[in-house]
Symmetry: C2
Subunit: 327 residues, 2 copies
Amino acid sequence: MRLSTLDNGTRDGELVVVHRDGTRAASARAIAPTLQAALDRWSATEPLLRALANDIDAGRVDAAPLDLARVLAPIPRPYEWVDGSAYINHIVLVRKARGAEPPETLLTDPLVYQGGTSEMRGPRAPIPLPDPSWGCDFEAEVGVILDDVPRGTNVANALAHVKLFVILNDVTYRNLIPPELAKGFGFFTSKPATSFAPFAVTPDELGDALKDGRVHLRLRSTLNGELAGDPEAGPEMHFSFADLIQHITKTRAFTAGTVLGSGTVSNKDRARGVSCLAERRTLETLDSGKPTTPFMKPGDRIAIEMLDASGRSIFGRIDQEVVAVPA
Amino acid sequence: MRLSTLDNGTRDGELVVVHRDGTRAASARAIAPTLQAALDRWSATEPLLRALANDIDAGRVDAAPLDLARVLAPIPRPYEWVDGSAYINHIVLVRKARGAEPPETLLTDPLVYQGGTSEMRGPRAPIPLPDPSWGCDFEAEVGVILDDVPRGTNVANALAHVKLFVILNDVTYRNLIPPELAKGFGFFTSKPATSFAPFAVTPDELGDALKDGRVHLRLRSTLNGELAGDPEAGPEMHFSFADLIQHITKTRAFTAGTVLGSGTVSNKDRARGVSCLAERRTLETLDSGKPTTPFMKPGDRIAIEMLDASGRSIFGRIDQEVVAVPA
C-alpha cells in the first residue's frame, strides 16, 4: 500500500491512498483525515486503508489523477524527525572534508541527530537558498515512519514498529556545519527543511528487498539530469533500522509518526557515485588537492528515486529546484 | 490568562482555562480542544479564551477544582522543542565539569539544541531513572511557546511571536553527555522527557517582570525540601528570547506551538545557588577537588516554581519524584 498527502489548504494535508499504477489516488478522509491521525490508531486504520487500496485498484472506488505539485510531505509536521548516519563511508568522507576525525565509537555506537519538524516539504517544493555561500547540498536517504515505540525497545522487537518507508532529501547548508558543530550542541541552522518523495509505503511494497532492517535497493540521485550516484542502500548500512531504534529508545519513548532516517546512503565503491556533493568534493580533494564540484546554486535541480527490480519507482520521485530567496 | 492541559484519555489532553485563584479551571473545548489547536489559530482563539477567563473569574462559568495529578504538559507532544543555553555562567560551569572549553563564540552566537518532543510530562509526573549511574540531574528553565514564526525573523519582530510563557525541568542524564557530545551530533539519549509546570501563561501575567525579552523574577528550585537555588532569570540571560528566535529562524520557519527554552537559569553570585546539580558539583570540585553532592536517585523530589512580587506562584509548581524503573 502506498499513501500520500495532498495539499487541501490545511496545515496537515489530506491522506490519500495511491492506485497501484502510481498516477491516481483517492481520499482516505472517511478513515483518517491525515496520515498522522491514521498512525495515531494504526491497528484500526491500516486494515481499512488496505481495503480502500484494494477497492481503488479494482476500480470499485474512483481515483483522481495525482497532481504532484499538490503533494506534500507524508507528514508535513511530524512530531519527531530523527536522522541517523548509518553509512560509515559517508561519515568518514564528510569528516575528512572538514578536517574532523570520525568518532572513536564509529562502529559500535550509532550517530543520530534530532532534526527540525516544522516544515517538512513535498517532492516538488523548491529548496530555498538565501545565501549561496552557505554551501547548499542534498543528502539522499531512506527513512521509516514509526508507530508508538516504548522506551527500552530492543533490536529484536524494533522492526515491528516500522509502519512505513520513505525516501527523503535531508538538505544541508554544508558551510554552516563547522562553526555549528564546534559549539558542541549538534546541527541546527545547518539543517533547513527536509523534503520527501510522494509516497510513504508499507513494508510489503519492498518485497524481498527488505532484509535485516535494511532496504536492499539502489537509491538514485540525479543532479541537473546527470547521475550523481546510485549506491546500494542495503549492505553498507552498518546500523540497521532495528539498531537505530534500539539506540534512540535508550532513555525515552517515541510517539506514532516519528520519522527516522538512515543517513546519507553511501558505498565505498566509487563507481556507485555519491548521494551528496560533500562526498564528491572530498574525493576530488583527495585526488587533486581541491574540490572542483560546486555546491548547489539557484536553478540546479536534484532528483531522487528508488526503483525496484521491475523498474517501478517505489516512492515516486523527489524533483526539486534550488531557488534564490531573500536572506 | 493562564492555561492548562488536563488528561482526558486522549494523546493531547484537554485545554482548560484556569481561574485567577489557580485552584480551579473550566474546559475550553468549545473554543479549541487542545492548546495546540488553539495556537494553530491563535488570533481567533485568544480573544475567546480571554472572554472565557473573564467569565470564570466573574463566576459566570463554573470552574471545577484543578486536580494537579491530572495536569499534563501544556502541549504533551509539541512539534518542536528547542532549548537554548542563554545563561553564560551555566555554560562555563558545566563545561568545566566535563573538562571541556566553552565555545569561542560564547558571547556572540547562541547555543541551542533540538530536543525530543514525544513525551513532554506534567508537573507531577515521576522522573524515570532506569540506571542511577546515568547521573540524573534537573535543569530549571524558563520557556516560551511561539505561534508561526517565519524564516528570517529578526530581533525587532521576534517577541510578537511569543504567545505563552512556561517553566520547565529539562531533565538530563549528566553522565551520558560526554560520550554523546564526543560524537559531534549533540544531545540525544542524555536528554530524556522534559517536564512542565501546570500553567502556560500569557505575557501580561508577568507584568513589569517581562522586560527586553527576559523574565525578571527568581526561579526557585527545591530538592528534597531544601532550597537548591533561586537565581534571577533576567539580568544574566545573555541572549534574550528575541535573540534566540532570531538565531533559530536563520534558515527555517517554526510552526505554532514550538517550545523554546532559555537554558538552565544561572547567576554568578553563589548566594543564589543553582538550578541544576552539575553546577553545584563543579563548584564543589573547584573548592575542594571533588564533587560531594550526588546526582538524583530514586525517592528524591525536585520542585520548581516562580513567584511574582506578590508571592503568587505564576506557573504553579513542578514537583516530581525520581523513580527507579527497569532498564
